[in-house]
């Protein structure tokens, strides 16, 4: 395997990967911090290096709708957005998986208005938690690059046939220059077969797509959709394994750092994970039994792997990058608590909501959170306890 490492802005790398995947239709509408990805893609198409239809739609609602139409006729389809754009396309985001359309979307995570903010957190993706797409989080530029191929491969797998969202943190990843190992075209060919849709809209074999469901069939349709998402996990694991065999990088639904003998673990998603790892090292140097769990696969939720990863843990510090107003804490923490409910030796969950709209969370902040969470013990923390960290009083 030859190694072709480039220092490159992660957005450019992501766009290059989409082009290397030989995508057929791209529909997107500009929004910070997603813009560099689609700008670069339109450039690649204009140069003639990628034979694709780049459709500069008039809104994100139309972007997702164009993707539905294109995917329905059997084209490999890509879009990319952030926060308000995702909110605007929301309606169609929920329809695509029900129709089993294997669209790939990069979500350059940004906070939802209001107040308006262009900076990074996870309030956008958490608003579509239950949309039915396969959803993964990435930690660095290489992750993003690799997961573009992964996303197409999983989405278009006839056993799956579901859309996939690759989350990448806005600015922290999109605008960062990182070292990325580019795949050789031969690796892409090996990993990503040609898209052969299960059904396609074509006069040769007429099908009806998007029929409506009466109460006597709706529940069955939804159960089938849920089962498709649940059973996609087997193919997700296979896709990661085979990617590892090609690249040497083996990804997992739940990844751990220093967690084997840890009593307390931080649970992170996305790009914060790297900073947390440094905090873990510092705390370890002070003799604390601290580790880290990273949730890479968000949907389908990896219950089994997660429970196994925290089997011997006494406390989980969950970092949420979004707030569930009036609810039981951050959205991730409430899922984690639900996943642990009824387990023997259920760990205590300390929930910090931090890093909203690009607010920096430093290594020292994580150490401070660890200390704040020290008095949290069994019987003392309620399910709905949470702390909004770093509020200027």
């Amino acid at each position: 395997m030859s190694i072709n490492r480039k220092g490159i802005e992660v957005s450019i790398g992501a766009a290059d990967a989409v082009a290397m995947a030989d995508v057929d239709v791209i529909a997107a509408y500009p929004i910070t911090p997603q813009t560099h990805i689609v700008e670069h893609l339109s450039e690649i198409v204009a140069r003639g290096d990628l034979d694709a239809e780049f459709i500069p739609v008039e809104s994100e609602h139309s972007a997702m709708s164009v993707c539905c139409g294109a995917s329905a006729v059997g084209a490999r389809t890509f879009t990319c957005t952030s926060s308000q754009g995702l909110a605007l396309m929301n309606e169609i985001v929920f329809i695509a998986p029900c129709m089993r359309l294997p669209i790939v979307m990069i979500l350059a995570n940004r906070s939802l208005s209001g107040p308006l903010s262009i900076w990074n957190d996870h309030s956008d993706v958490m608003s579509i938690r239950d949309c039915g797409w396969i959803q993964v989080f990435t930690e660095n530029g290489q992750d993003v690059f690799d997961h573009v191929f992964f996303a197409f491969r999983v989405a278009e797998n006839p056993q799956v046939s579901l859309p996939v969202i690759v989350n990448m943190d806005g600015f922290i990843l999109t605008h960062m220059i990182e070292a990325i190992e580019y795949w050789e075209p031969e690796m892409v060919r090996r990993y990503l077969p040609e898209f052969k849709p299960v059904n396609r809209l074509h006069p040769d074999k007429p099908v009806t797509m998007g029929a409506f469901g009466m109460p006597n069939i709706f529940t069955e349709a939804k159960k089938a959709q849920n089962e498709a998402l649940l059973s996609s996990k087997v193919e997700i694991l296979r896709a990661w394994k085979e990617m590892g065999d090609i690249t040497g990088r083996y990804y997992k639904p739940v990844e751990s750092y220093q967690a084997d003998d840890a009593e307390t673990v931080f649970l992170t998603m996305g790009s914060l994970s790297e900073t947390v790892s440094i905090a873990v090292d510092r705390l370890r140097a002070q003799g604390k039994a601290v580790g880290q769990i990273k949730l890479r696969l968000w949907r389908p939720f990896p219950f089994e792997e997660f429970r196994l990863a925290v089997k011997n843990v006494k406390k989980i510090i969950v970092l949420d990058r979004a707030l569930s107003f009036g609810g039981p804490g951050g959205p991730v923490a409430s899922e984690i608590r639900a996943a642990l409910y009824g387990e023997q030796n259920m760990p205590v969950v300390a929930n910090f909501v931090a890093g909203l709209a690009g607010r920096d969370v430093t290594v020292n902040d994580y150490i401070a959170m660890y200390e704040k969470a020290e008095p949290f013990a069994k019987g003392k923390v309620r399910q709905d306890d949470y702390i909004i960290y770093g509020v200027r009083e």
Binding site: V25, V66, V73, E91, T208, M209, G210
Partner: protein
């Protein structure tokens, strides 16, 4: 024209692509229009439909009335789903992954899906110049949700959200949005109005629209007995009156040039059109006069645009 119409109807295919057995109301002239359009376009078509009566009557899972490929995603995005399907086909053919077969991309939506909530997506599709035919089935209200007003509801019509009451006697107080003119403003190669009471005219226009390269728009007045409060067996007759009174003139705009396709020598009084319809029952003679003035004026304007009439005060 009349004898030709009688003869020509025998030439129409017996094939039904919009199959019988759908669930529309009796006498629905919108379903008739859908059926005629489907007949013209035949097999080699991909249809993208908006939410609305025609979607609901034809696609109750696990059944379908569509013998041609048909896609429904949502209410307001047909312009966009259609763009995606058309572009997807084009690129797959270019890349050699689909056989190069002439396929017509047909968009269909009600007046709400077209002139209101879906106007943006359709405008985008027109502007980008995808190769498609978009048909608006205009029954002058949101019928599927129970006869609410749209921007295409005519002045004076009552609907469930433009009722006539003591304080507001008129019913709908705004004038019908001129959707064909909005389409023309996009400089697309073909725009036409049609009505299922004139099937040959309608079918010829759809055929023409399909033959054009680029976006084409056909706006079909589709009489809805349920929403217009008329007996089901009067739908065709009411559609004829809409044309003969000048309320809904039949014309086409080919590469920017206007042409009236169903000439009316002398317009009948609008009252003949309004009186039989329950939705206009409350209108006072003054209101009818207001409508008459507007219809006469609009018809004059249209005639001027055809270039035949340069003296607009003569009709």
């Amino acid at each position: 024209m009349e004898p030709l119409n009688v003869y020509a109807s025998r030439l129409i295919t017996k094939e039904e692509y919009f199959a019988p057995g759908h669930r529309s109301c009796q006498g629905c002239a919108e379903a008739l229009a859908v059926r005629l359009v489907a007949k013209v376009l035949g097999n080699n078509v991909v249809v993208c439909a908006a939410t609305g009566c025609m979607e609901i009557v034809s696609s109750p899972l696990p059944f379908t009335n569509w013998r041609v490929p048909w896609l429904h995603v949502a209410f307001e995005n047909t312009g966009a789903t259609l763009s995606g399907a058309e572009a997807g086909f084009r690129v797959l053919i270019r890349k050699g992954r689909l056989a190069d077969k002439k396929t017509v991309f047909l968009g269909m939506g009600g007046d709400g899906a077209t002139a209101d909530i879906g106007l943006q997506a359709l405008s985008g599709a027109f502007e980008r110049g995808h190769d498609f035919v978009y048909v608006c089935y205009d029954n002058e209200a949101y019928m599927n949700t129970g006869i609410q007003r749209s921007s295409s509801t005519p002045f004076g019509a009552t609907t469930t959200t433009s009722p006539s009451g003591k304080a507001k006697p008129t019913g709908q107080v705004t004038w019908k949005k001129n959707m064909p003119k909005i389409a023309v403003a996009h400089n697309i190669p073909y725009v036409a109005t049609a009505c299922s009471s004139y099937p040959i005219d309608l079918m010829e226009k759809v055929k023409k629209a399909a033959a054009k390269k680029g976006p084409a728009y056909v706006h079909i007045l589709s009489v809805c007995p349920t929403g217009w409060r008329i007996p089901p067996d009067r739908a065709i007759w009411i559609g004829r009156l809409a044309v003969e009174t000048g309320v809904f003139p039949l014309y086409e705009v080919e590469d920017g040039k206007y042409k009236i396709t169903q000439e009316v020598d002398e317009l009948r009084p609008v009252q003949e059109y309004l009186k039989p319809q329950g939705r206009f029952r409350h209108l006072t003679p003054e209101m009818i006069e207001t409508i008459q003035e507007r219809v006469t004026q609009d018809y004059k304007k249209l005639k001027t645009m055809t270039g035949k009439f340069n003296t607009p005060d003569k009709v």
